[in-house]
């Protein structure tokens, strides 16, 4: 979903799938038994931020001319296919691991996905047609950076395997939340309110200035 948000051709579909990503995250929070957080996420992100983004996309509108869909060279097609395979594989590994059918899936995904993605990126980077290269260079850098970051996380995660976890059912307790919000973080809430007010004023000021000029 997150990938869809970034890769879809139309900005509107991108914004909508970003909303879907936020929704999925709030479902994660529900699953984690963090009820208040899930509701907060639904309210703020799915409700407010998604609408805000959609509104901004409407104001800006679609890019007047979409970049012409150039014919993918054989190389680009191959690379794209490899990347798609890697993604599908990663998703399957995650699903399998979620269902408990583990083959030490993190290492598997690192083993398979990492080299494929890096290979893809380098192929596009260095062997692509000159015309294609300029178009794909950013994408290749992005894929490289993302795979590096992911590999780093996976490395950290492999140490995490021995971390003792407390998997007993923690009852959702709103008293804890209220206590910590009001007693421990009371000052922070005030500061946060000031920050939100400042951000709102700034946004309004930016929008207002133009209206006065017209």
């Amino acid at each position: 979903m997150a990938l869809l948000a970034l890769e879809s051709k139309s900005l509107v579909y991108g914004a909508i799938s970003l909303g879907g990503f936020f929704l999925g995250l709030s479902i994660f929070f529900f699953y984690l038994n963090l009820l208040y957080l899930a509701i907060f996420q639904l309210l703020v992100y799915v409700g407010a931020v998604s609408v805000l983004i959609l509104f901004a996309v409407m104001v800006i509108g679609e890019p007047s001319k979409l970049p012409p869909r150039g014919r993918l060279g054989g190389l680009g097609l191959l690379g794209g296919l490899l990347l798609a395979l890697a993604e599908v594989f990663t998703v399957f590994v995650l699903i399998f691991s979620f269902l408990g059918l583990t083959l030490d899936p993190i290492f598997q995904s690192l083993l398979y996905v990492g080299p494929i993605v890096v290979f893809f990126a380098f192929v596009i980077l260095f062997l692509g047609e000159p015309k294609e290269r300029s178009r794909y260079r950013f994408k290749a850098f992005g894929v490289l950076g993302a795979s590096l970051v992911f590999a780093g996380f996976v490395g950290v995660l492999s140490y995490l395997g021995s971390l003792p976890t407390h998997s007993g059912d923690v009852a959702f307790n709103i008293v804890d939340l209220a206590d910590s919000l009001l007693n421990d973080y009371g000052l922070l809430i005030v500061v946060l309110g000031l920050l939100l007010a400042a951000a709102t004023f700034g946004a309004v000021a930016l929008a207002k200035k133009e209206a006065e000029e017209q």
């Binding site: 997150a2 970034l6 900005l11 991108g14 970003l18 936020f22 995250l25 994660f28 929070f29 984690l32 038994n33 963090l34 957080l37 907060f40 703020v44 931020v49 805000l52 983004i53 901004a56 996309v57 104001v59 800006i60 890019p63 990663t90 995650l94 691991s97 993190i106 850098f141 992005g142 894929v143 950076g145 993302a146 970051v149 992911f150 996380f153 996976v154 995660l157 995490l160 395997g161 971390l163 976890t165 998997s167 923690v170 307790n173 008293v175 804890d176 939340l177 209220a178 910590s180 421990d184 973080y185 922070l188 946060l192 920050l195 939100l196 951000a199 709102t200 946004a203 930016l206 929008a207």
Partner: protein, 102 residues
Amino acid sequence: MNELQFFVAASALFFAIGVYGLLSKKSAIRILFSIEIIINAASLNIAAFARYSPYNLGSAQSVTIFIIALAAAEAAAGLALIIEAFRIRGKVDVNEMDELKG
């Protein structure tokens, strides 16, 4: 692989996707999307660790709520800036916003 690892892996995946978008996209709105995805990955990470730690959930939820509120403020300010830039320039391609270049 226990559940904590699943959530941390998902968080890492989202973070990586966000970094990818940050590095590869040219439209300012897409970059804002990426930032939102990264922030959400961070909050998912915190929530997951909080859930599987022996302490109570209040403090971590507070921190995550602060993150969400900050992200909302950032989204509002960022979108206002993008709209302003769009009004001035007619497009939001960050590669062409180079007037400050020395």
